[in-house]
């Protein structure tokens, strides 16, 4: 183990009440290189979000271990080195945009790297004019931008994003993807991104981890060799569609293997 990457070894996680022969995650081995953008994709129930929670230290695995640059997830949390962007923005409704973005600096004060200035973060996500607004006065896309800014504020070593754009309309998703790419390009932190969208995974990632369900396991790891920065021309090029085709074929294989696994268990 080098300590330079995120390394997951022989990871198995069963939920209480779940079938013993079909754990949520089974024997997961995965390496996520430093400062790379990696997406987890797969059918519902394949354990993408569980894997993300294990990396975040929110769920303890039954077997195996996780190393984030040589440290355990809980150690990383203690150092405030993990930024989490959940599926819903999870903003505090009684705090305005500026206060929500500054929230990580207000808890566990003694730890963490010097935070990025709130004004810079507001500018980076294009919300400088909405700094005094409250979450109920924001659109879904604006709220999610606040959640991203909040997670980026502490310059985390790893940014974990759990389907952050899934509740947004297609236009807003497109805009936020481009904004996220721009933010990541400048900060180059390690990102683990859970998504259901093949296009999203291809446009954003250096590597795509295709997972299959019942039990949750890694079906295939695909490297995305599209050039960076991923401007709109790259995103709409035929090469991108080719990669999307490869991912879709892999997903189909993952889905079929999930069905086969279910049938063999049933028989």
């Amino acid at each position: 183990m080098t300590g330079d990457d995120i390394e997951i070894r022989h990871l198995t996680k069963r939920y209480r009440g779940g079938a013993s022969d079909r754990p949520a995650l089974q024997n997961i081995d995965l390496e996520i290189p430093h400062r790379r953008f990696v997406s987890l994709i797969g059918p519902s129930g394949c354990g993408k979000s569980t894997l993300l929670r294990v990396i975040a230290g929110l769920t303890v695995p039954d077997h195996g271990h996780v190393s984030l640059f040589g440290r355990t997830p809980r150690e990383m949390c203690r150092r405030k080195a993990i930024g989490l962007v959940p599926q819903t923005p999870a903003l505090l409704p009684w705090l305005n945009v500026r206060q929500n973005i500054a929230l990580p600096t207000m808890v566990n004060r003694r730890r963490g790297t010097p935070p990025e200035s709130t004004d810079d973060l507001l500018r980076a996500v294009g919300l400088q004019d909405s700094a005094r607004r409250y979450p109920h006065q924001l659109s879904g896309g604006m709220s999610q931008r606040v959640a991203i800014a909040r997670a980026l504020g502490l310059r985390p070593d790893v940014l974990l994003m759990d389907e952050p754009f899934s509740a947004l309309d297609e236009f807003t998703r497109e805009a936020l993807r481009m904004q996220l790419l721009e933010l990541w390009q400048r900060r180059a932190t390690t990102v683990v991104f859970v998504t259901h969208s093949v296009h999203e995974a291809v446009v954003l990632s250096d590597r795509i981890v295709v997972m299959s369900a019942r039990p949750g396991r890694i079906h295939e790891v695909l490297d995305v060799d599209l050039p960076r920065p991923r401007e709109r021309e790259v995103v709409s090029a035929s090469r991108t569609r080719e990669v999307e085709g490869r991912v879709r074929a892999s997903l189909h294989g993952a889905w079929s293997s999930g069905i086969t696994a279910t049938e063999s268990v049933a028989s």
Binding site: L58, C77, A90, L92, W94, L103, R150
Partner: protein, 284 residues
Amino acid sequence: MSTEVIGSSAASPPPEPARDPAQRRPRTRSVFHPFVWLPTTVLLLILGAAWAAVAEAHPYVLPGLGEVGTALVENPALFLGNAWSTLGIALTGVAAGAISAFVLAVVMSEVPVVRRALMPIAVVINVTPVVAITPALVVAFGFGMAPKVIVTAIITFFPVLINVTTGLRSVSPTVLQVFRTLNASRWEVLLRLRLPGSLPYTLAALRVVLPLSVVGAVVAEFVAAGSSGGLGTMIRNSASTARLDFVYAAVTCLAAMGLTMLALVTAIERRVLFWHESRRHPSG
């Protein structure tokens, strides 16, 4: 030029245009709009007329509204003095009950063993008719304020305990996950997340227990025989001497006190719960 037809639904008639969202939004009207004040005014006039008719026919059952008004206008010091006495008991009782319930709810939410130990006892106290122990409290504490304050405190304790406990536990799991990834301490989660999040529940409890505290104080005054002040004592004494105008004048004072308390809580809610959906969609 040809137009491509996609799917069979292209031939079907276009759907009805969606209604303007602004039309669906509940309209908020000024209190001066007849739509707001007219129904209540009409109802009050009908009730007033019915009252007057009954008072005319049975003067020993119901005093005339004019007599009630006269009693109030001619004895302002008497009513104010007694109202002040009842208000003192109600506010002291509700402060003691609500503050101790709030503190206990916080402790119970943080220490599960305390919750398991105290909740059954709190439930038993809640289902016990507190009024029944007032005479015993009078024996123990005399005719002063103490037994009345204790009764009021017990009556107001439980709604605050239940509401605040619910509020402290109603934290969004995803926000809690964000706090956990920041390694926030329990104290920080309590201070920055649970307490502000429980504010709507706390104020909803106050909305119930502030008027309830007046009920508690009056009932305690009824039961604590020999007590010298307060609207409850005044009602009991006036009823025994058939001064119904004084009885209803005192009831009017109590209603005014309850309304003032409710208005106060509403004003606080409007100021501090601007972010809560109950303030944004009051009709919903």
